[in-house]
């Protein structure tokens, strides 16, 4: 029940949109999302979408409508398993997976990274393996007649230092730091906002 005048006069939330976002994404990833027909075949092909409310098409739609923050700091872009079925079936031949990975790369700067990925990224830097060896598996290796530690970076400190050098120079640590210091989550634009 409206309380006198106040509810009706409640300030409408102004949402800012970025008209150039579609072009920004196109330029960053090399895939022209403006070609999207919005036919929805990608959504219907998506395994994640089968089990959630995730609609692949909507990511592109929101990007084209300029909802930069919602896309980059939203949950949806992290639901893609990169299975490529959408790309295979898209009538406009849009590499949707590449678009999503581009958006993920861009989201690093606004703090969109998933917390769980921190560990994986740090492992990669520290050990050269996203999934490094542990005592349990060293045992398993020995039982199989394999050397305790595989002939990868795990067996060569020179190799590991090369990995460190490369990752540092490539800016991996900077990306990680920014991503770790910012953490925001923004809800999709369709959910109850006044424009």
């Amino acid at each position: 029940m409206a309380t006198a005048k106040t509810d009706l006069e409640a300030p409408r939330k102004i949402v800012s949109r970025r008209n150039d976002f579609a072009n920004e994404v196109t330029k960053a990833g090399g895939v022209n999302i403006n070609k999207c027909l919005q036919c929805g075949r990608c959504t219907a092909s998506c395994p994640s979408g089968k089990h959630t409310a995730y609609r692949t098409r909507m990511i592109i739609r929101r990007a084209m409508a300029g909802f930069r923050e919602e896309v980059l700091a939203g949950d949806d872009i992290w639901l893609c398993t990169t299975c490529y079925t959408c790309y295979e079936r898209c009538p406009r031949g849009i590499d949707v997976v590449k678009v999503i990975q581009t958006l993920r790369n861009m989201s690093m700067r606004v703090g969109g990274m998933l917390p769980a990925h921190r560990a994986v990224a740090l492992n990669l830097y520290k050990t050269g393996h996203a999934v490094p060896i542990d005592p349990d598996n060293k045992d398993k290796r020995l039982k199989l007649g394999l050397p305790e530690v595989p002939p990868t970076v795990h067996s060569s400190s020179i190799a590991l230092s090369e990995v460190h050098e490369l990752l540092e120079q490539a800016g991996f640590l900077d990306v990680l730091e920014t991503a770790l210091t910012k953490q925001i989550r923004v809800r999709p634009p369709e959910e109850g906002l006044f424009l």
Partner: protein, 669 residues
């Protein structure tokens, strides 16, 4: 030779006309400066600039100047000669000046349109182009176009609705028509359809009278089961070799009674029915095929494959069966050609996720048409193939084989939205309780009455879902199909089961068109359809003078547009025939037989077979067949002795242009 023409031998007096082309040229090139520059050139008597030199005022100005200024050369600096060279030649001719004393400098396509960002340099370049044109103009000589008589006859390739319409229009106007059709009967795709949109007329009912007209028309010679085997010549005089493949049935004797087919023991899937029905090895594709003459399919006939049977001959009361029939070659000469070879529907077997060919109840739009035909394989009933029962819930999937870059078929086939709507309406008419859903990306209802038809469909309860179906999976026991799609307007992913799925397949160019294109010298576009001369202004012409296009061979279209284009093509094809003669442009080079060594290098360069060896006394020389020559100049460039000279591009003229371009001023620039 009148006064003005004779003066072409005198000192050249050049008029230069610099066109603004509205803003096309004038916005980038400073046309006034170019015009001033032109008037400073030696031999230029007058130079003007004008907004549209090609319009009435422009042309009249040129005419007046020719008379008053006693001009004997005209230079027009404007758009590409491909656009208006013909126009200005006419202007010269009307003013009594030889039309070949004209030179066009292209300061639009080759200057203003490509240098929009650099006006100063564009203006300088325009000046260069003008001085080059003037230098060449000084060396132009008058030329005469030859006139040849045209053969008052047209070849129409393709007996579908487009070819039939073109043939009838031409024949009605008194022109003899040779209509060649690859299949045994005419009618093409339209003969396969049940009803047509938006009128819901019975296709056969409106088509048959035209087909009968063709068969009975005194001016039309019909060749069915035939192909064009050889082709040469040019506008007004094409030489064509038609091969009539044997039907092994004497058409004069065959009464179309059908006893032979009744008795024939071999059953084969009927291509006309897209495999839904069957025919015999001796057959007509459908009960109302025209002409009603039978054909033997030698791939399946027992006599031709195994040397046995001969039942058809035994039972034929007219003695029409002739196993010894030979192919017949007919040589004809025609003045013009209309190509109306039609299209093939897309075969969706390659789209594995849709299951066509794997699942019984996934069919195509054309198959629905055959079912809807009262004389068709299911007696006019649309049914599920798994249990032959009528469906209660039907899905139509649009854009299958169209608008799909993955399949390299990026274009829109135009007709599928409407034909799916029509099929859905047919279902609703039969049983209003049937649920029909059309899955679309866009609904294209562009023609007259089409939007109204769409509204009627919606009112009748045809459902529309905006979403391209991702995949189809069959339910093993019921053979129903589960479609997974996103209803994009709703924003929800849905899995829904249907009794029958219809894939609305698009139109593809016929594979045989590749060979035909090579034979006729017709280029095809990137999608494979024959290319029109100009998409806006000459949609029925091809780049080969005298050959015209009609129907889906040029680009997917519906019957309305096919008929309209066919009549258009017929009218184009009739022009030179009604006039009775045609001008051959003097582009053909001449061979100076004193220099020609008969080496034949030029013959190898000519793709039009216009150069032939001949004897001049003891010496072997080369001669030019002017009717075949297109004036491309390859031979001129190839000749090691410079024995061949092109009349409109002599070495001296080209040298003068180069010298004009490389004048000290440009070198300093």
């Amino acid at each position: 030779m009148n006064e003005v023409a004779a003066s072409s031998e005198a000192v050249p007096r050049v008029g230069v006309y610099v066109c603004h082309c509205g803003k096309n040229i004038a916005d980038t090139v400073d046309v006034k400066k170019v015009s001033e520059f032109a008037s400073s050139l030696p031999n230029v008597v007058i130079a003007r600039d004008y907004v549209h030199v090609c319009d009435e005022v422009g042309q009249d100005t040129i005419s007046r100047d020719i008379k008053e200024q006693k001009l004997n050369r005209v230079v027009v600096a404007a758009c590409s000669p491909k656009v208006h060279e013909v126009t200005f030649r006419r202007t010269l001719a009307k003013s009594g000046l030889n039309p070949y004393l004209l030179e066009v400098g292209n300061i639009r396509e080759q200057c203003s349109w490509v240098h929009i960002d650099n006006k100063d340099l564009a203006t300088e370049k325009a000046k260069d182009l003008v001085i080059m044109a003037v230098s060449k103009a000084l060396l132009l000589r008058p030329l005469e176009a030859k006139e040849i008589e045209t053969t008052k006859s047209t070849l129409v390739i393709g007996g579908g609705i487009a070819g039939v319409q073109a043939a009838l229009d031409l024949a009605d106007s008194g022109i003899k028509v040779h209509l060649v059709e690859r299949a045994s009967n005419i009618g093409g795709r339209m003969a396969q359809w049940g009803k047509v949109f938006p009128t819901m007329d019975c296709a056969a009912c409106i088509l048959m009278p035209k087909l009968v007209n063709v068969v009975q028309h005194p001016n039309i010679t019909l060749y069915t089961h035939s192909e064009v085997k050889d082709f040469s010549g040019s506008l007004g005089n094409f030489k064509v070799k038609i091969v009539r493949k044997p039907k092994y049935v004497d058409e004069e004797k065959c009464t179309g009674c059908g006893t032979c087919a009744q008795k024939c023991p071999v059953k084969v899937p009927n291509e006309f029915d897209f495999g839904l029905g069957q025919r015999k090895a001796i057959y007509i594709p459908s009960p109302n095929a025209i002409p009603q003459k039978y054909t033997i399919d030698t791939d399946h006939c027992l006599y031709f494959t195994k040397g046995v049977c001969k039942v058809c001959q035994k039972f034929c009361t007219s003695g029409a069966i002739n196993y010894e029939q030979q192919p017949q070659t007919v040589d004809i000469q025609v003045g013009t050609v209309v190509v109306a070879t039609g299209y093939d529907p897309f075969d969706p077997s390659g789209i594995l996720e849709y299951g066509f060919g794997k699942y019984d109840n996934v069919i195509t739009g054309p198959m629905v048409e055959r079912m809807a035909d009262a004389m068709g394989p299911t007696g006019g009933k649309i049914i599920r193939l798994s249990d032959k029962k009528p469906p209660k819930k039907v899905a139509f999937l649009q854009c299958v084989g169209s608008r799909d870059e993955k399949l390299r078929l990026a274009y829109c086939s135009r007709v599928c939205c409407m034909y799916a709507l029509k099929d859905a309406m047919m279902l609703k008419e039969e049983d209003p309780s049937i649920e029909a859903t059309i899955f679309y990306i866009d609904i294209r209802a562009f023609g007259k009455g089409y939007e109204e038809f769409y509204v009627r469909g919606q009112e009748r309860g045809v459902k529309f879902v905006r979403g391209k179906v991702s995949s189809i999976v069959e339910e093993p026991d019921t053979k129903r199909l589960r479609l997974r799609y996103e209803d994009t307007l709703l924003g929800r992913t849905i899995v829904e089961a249907f009794d029958l799925v219809v894939l609305s397949v698009g139109q593809l160019p016929r594979k045989e068109d590749q060979e035909l294109g090579k034979l006729l010298g017709l280029p095809r576009g990137i999608e494979g359809f024959f290319m029109e001369a100009h998409p806006k202004l000459r949609p029925n012409d091809t780049v080969v003078d005298g050959i015209y296009l009609a129907g889906s061979a040029q680009y997917p279209k519906d019957i309305t547009d096919a008929v309209a284009q066919a009549s258009g093509a017929a009218s184009r094809a009739a022009i030179s025939l009604q006039v009775g003669k045609v001008q051959i442009e003097p582009v053909a080079p001449t061979v100076d037989e004193n220099y020609c060594g008969g080496c034949g290098i030029c013959v190898g360069t000519c793709t039009f077979n216009a150069l032939k060896f001949d004897k001049q006394g003891e010496k072997r020389v080369v001669r030019v067949d002017e009717s075949l020559c297109k004036g491309c100049g390859s031979c001129v460039a190839a000749c090691p002795l410079s024995a061949i000279k092109a009349p409109q591009f002599t070495d001296q003229q080209i040298a003068a242009q180069v010298k004009a371009l490389l004048r000290p001023e440009t070198l300093r620039r």
